[in-house]
Symmetry: D2
Subunit: 340 residues, 4 copies
């Protein structure tokens, strides 16, 4: 008989809705009991009804206080993550928390320490690790098929920048957007970052520069295992959401290309046409959100550490901090410099 977990979700924004719908329709053997969101309006109520959410509340404590609930999925705003993780730890409930854990290294470390003592399990929502292409890439590296990894290259380009109001409070491109790529680089390299040199520019929209951020970034990472990483980011690739990974190793090279919108080629007297790649993360990564939750519950059932875990979440933020410092000082920065 499969263990059936009872689950509560905190935060029903865009990503909270995705997780909720996956919990309701795509994840077997779990029971979603409560969804909590501080702002309950008619739209949210209608969505909850249509989806079949049993209970919608504005009070997350209903989740923490419910002894039946064993798992909390945290999708609220970043500044509330550590608070809710700590409360879950106190209540001995396992946690799946959206990325990033927090933007403050000390707060993350303190939270991870509480998690560790509590014995609960914590997974951080780097969903791209569960994309079928990047998993296949990772497997190829991890299995030794391409030998020792020497060069890890990540291309990660958004189709359009978020609103300026969002960018103002985003924590900067390295922490907001590249955070996924720091994690992907570590995941593929199978090693921690030791030093980073990051540069950036404002090439897309001067307004982004005016609020102190950049819209184009390139970073060069040195991993502890000797591999070198390269990440390039832009806030606007007009041709769609460009998400590729390449790992070069001593015995070969593995390349994960973009997903295609379809497999059709149209040959005409002028040229051959292929449709644009899918627009954005909802088109590209929808499946990976369900896969990561499935993996999480599987780990809980097997009583093994879910990955990426809190330590991963910490390392990713450390790299982001070091990248920011490197960009500001225009010099290579060791992770140890920001690991306070």
């Amino acid at each position: 008989m499969v263990k059936k977990f009872t689950v509560g979700v905190i935060g029903a924004g865009r990503i909270g809705k995705i997780h909720t719908e996956n919990l309701l329709h795509k994840i077997s053997d779990i029971n979603l009991k409560i969804v909590a969101d501080i702002k309950i309006n008619d739209d949210l109520k209608q969505w909850a009804a249509e989806m079949g959410v049993i209970k919608l509340t504005s009070d997350p404590n209903e989740i923490f206080d419910d002894p039946k609930i064993e798992v909390v999925v945290i999708c609220s705003s970043t500044d509330t993550h550590t608070k809710f993780i700590q409360e879950a730890a106190k209540a001995k409930k396992h946690v799946f928390c959206e990325k990033p854990i927090d933007t403050d290294i000390k707060r993350i470390k303190k939270t991870l320490s509480i998690v560790e003592k509590s014995g609960i399990k914590l997974m951080v929502g780097f969903n791209r690790r569960f994309d079928r292409n990047f998993i296949r890439c990772h497997e190829s590296v991890a299995s030794g098929q391409i030998g020792e990894p020497h060069i890890v290259k990540i291309t990660s380009r958004d189709p359009a920048p978020p609103p300026i109001e969002y960018i103002k409070v985003s924590g900067g491109m390295f922490l907001d957007m590249t955070i996924h790529d720091w994690d992907m680089a570590r995941f593929q390299a199978g090693s921690e970052v030791e030093e980073i040199y990051a540069t950036g520019a404002v090439l897309i929209d001067p307004e982004i520069g005016k609020v102190g951020d950049i819209d184009t970034a390139v970073a060069l990472l040195k991993f502890k295992n000797g591999a070198i990483g390269i990440i390039d980011n832009t806030r606007q690739a007009v041709y769609g959401y460009d998400q590729r990974v390449e790992v070069f190793g001593s015995k070969g090279c593995v390349v994960a290309d973009n997903e295609a919108t379809n497999t059709v080629r149209i040959y005409t007297a002028e040229c051959t046409n292929i449709d644009k790649i899918p627009y954005f993360f909802l088109e590209r990564y929808m499946e990976s959100y369900a896969t990561e939750l499935k993996s999480f519950f599987e780990c809980l059932r097997k009583n093994i550490e879910p990955l990426p875990n809190g330590e991963d979440g910490l390392q990713d933020v450390l790299v982001a901090k070091a990248a920011q410092k490197s960009y500001e000082d225009n010099r290579p920065v060791k992770i140890s410099e920001v690991d306070i």
Copy 2:
């Protein structure tokens, strides 16, 4: 306010389960009220409970007699299709019927005549028309982008033959397997078949030959608009479910290739590797089953003819009959010869 149809499903075998799950989880604004299947056992009960089927019955009349139910989805065995379509027509319920409508031309014609008089809408389940790749291909032809179609090529190869017991009662390869391809060829050519030359062989498994069937088939079609069609089939492509379409026209050529399992290429000292293509129709066409039902309900709401309709279902069987005759006589056969 969107019209919300109440629906009953007849037949909960493999394909009936797929449609039921789509109706429950992926199709908006419909209400699945009853699922009927003649053989109700514990497995089926458990599946129904897990999926959230409200009512499971062994009596399809509960569907026909329910005045709330406006739409019947017929997934029972082929020999029951026309009976259920006729009952639905009598009860003024719209019908989505799995392919083929029937294997007897006269029975199909009589049923279509009853459908027409009743005013109900009838869609036949050629789901491949809703595959994103073949839709794109069709659009390219239908829009005139590649000009007048001259040559339509369909590659359709199963990964493994069905059991001999199934083949014995299948009606023969042209009616059982190629039926999808007759429909696809007509869909892409945008024209009806006028004459066919079909050949076949037993190259995969001699047992298939012993029960009077073939396992490899190639057919050459002449369409009324002058285009020539080519279909090749095999019961066993060891590398996976090979499903491709190509239309060559006066202004270009459109080619729909297989879906990839992932986009990863692995370069090694020996060669470059790509993973096998997806195994079979559940992997390849799952999305198309939901898309076809969505299209069906959209047509009902707009009060327009859903496609492929009963006439399509008839034409596809006529082509299959002519193909069989051509193969047996080893000569080109006109569709009019079998259109009794």
Copy 3:
């Protein structure tokens, strides 16, 4: 010490010039002594001077009478092929002859008989067998990598039709254009054709129909080893010279796609673009012309039968004849029916 053959070329039209230039610049250890052409004008003289042709003559007998010349490359008009092959056989000179040997079955057979008695070697210029892609395809089949061949598919489409004046005297599409594909099908299938069903249409240019020919053709072949072949041809593919081969077998499938003009993909906000495929046979097959001659001389040096040989040339014409008959009678035709 490598044997150095002395060579004469008869016919300096388009294909004769290609072979001459290859003999002069790309084939090692041969000595091109004489080029003969019945029409010598200033253009030809200038070309010969620039290329470094030592002797240009209007009399082919200078080649046959020269005891130093051991090899004759025949590139004159088709109606002169058998005459020159017979003269070469009489003079004990090896022959490389452009395709087709002749259009008359009896004349071909008589010539092959003379060749056989003379002991000379005869290769027929089906250069596509030496295209790197089709060789690779053939190797994959011949080595057993894809098991027993079941289906052989050849797509062969010209970018533009030849002038009507040419078509009038071409012998018909099946003998003029498809001749290459009959040979390719036999080469890939590794078996002779037993029966053929061919159809055709005038879809490109009504003028072609007026002179009694077709511009679109599809043929279905049955090979002695059980494999089924499919060939599709058109005189005009506006997107370029479309040349593909596919062999499906019991253990896999091998597909040779078109050569690309370059490897560049351009991603824009509208779509992804690839440049058109190369225009015509000079772009696609130039390398194969040199490779076939190299193979010919290598066979002479090793004293082994060069392939494709006279028997291949005969079989290809037999298939063409049967295809024409099948098209005219609209019925499958056995090769034995035309093998007089």
Copy 4:
């Protein structure tokens, strides 16, 4: 009437032989009169005879002193380049010089100054600029099709390292191997490099480290036009010679992939196989060597500046020097720091 240049070649090593053969067989309207090489042995004599070299000499002055010779192609060792360029300038002969011009900035500058005063034309042999794929890429950028370039990515990986003895005297990876990539990056970006951060490692062969060099390198370039460049190099990609270019811009992205050995895909029960990419530069770039010489002579005839010219050769060496300094100091280095 086309101007026919008389040409002399200095240096008949590997690259000198390639240029000589191209001059003899592939470049029209030129007359190769003398090939000079300091080491004339029997092998070289035989090669010269077979190729049709009219005169082979050990004295390059025979070229400089010959008033008929208007063009000198310099393929001798790097340390002799500036001496021969200067002599050619004195003798008013145009120069095609292999890369790099020299490894000493001052010597390069002095030589370019002499070239300028003399009025002769100087082209430097960065043949990759003439690869059909990279040309197409460049055209796409230069024409504005992808808008302003933001990110230029170059992947350049050799299949196997050269002998240690060669590496010892190579001047270091950045000057020996990456020199092609500095040039390619500048060519694609359409701008000069302003600052560079380069890192490297010994991951392939410890012996390379022992002689003070690296075998893996990654560099991050900042161009004057704001674009950011990324280059990754390795001395050993076991899967073949990996040569790719990508330029991301405000209106799109252009990607030039590796040339394929053939277009064949083999689908089996295990996976899909593609043959390895071509092994090394002779396979990949042979055509580009002929194309660059054709371009050179075309520029001479049109009396326009051939590109890449001496200034390009200088800039590429400056970037190499800055890269080396950046690697040694582990900090970003401005080109102006090394431009003495």
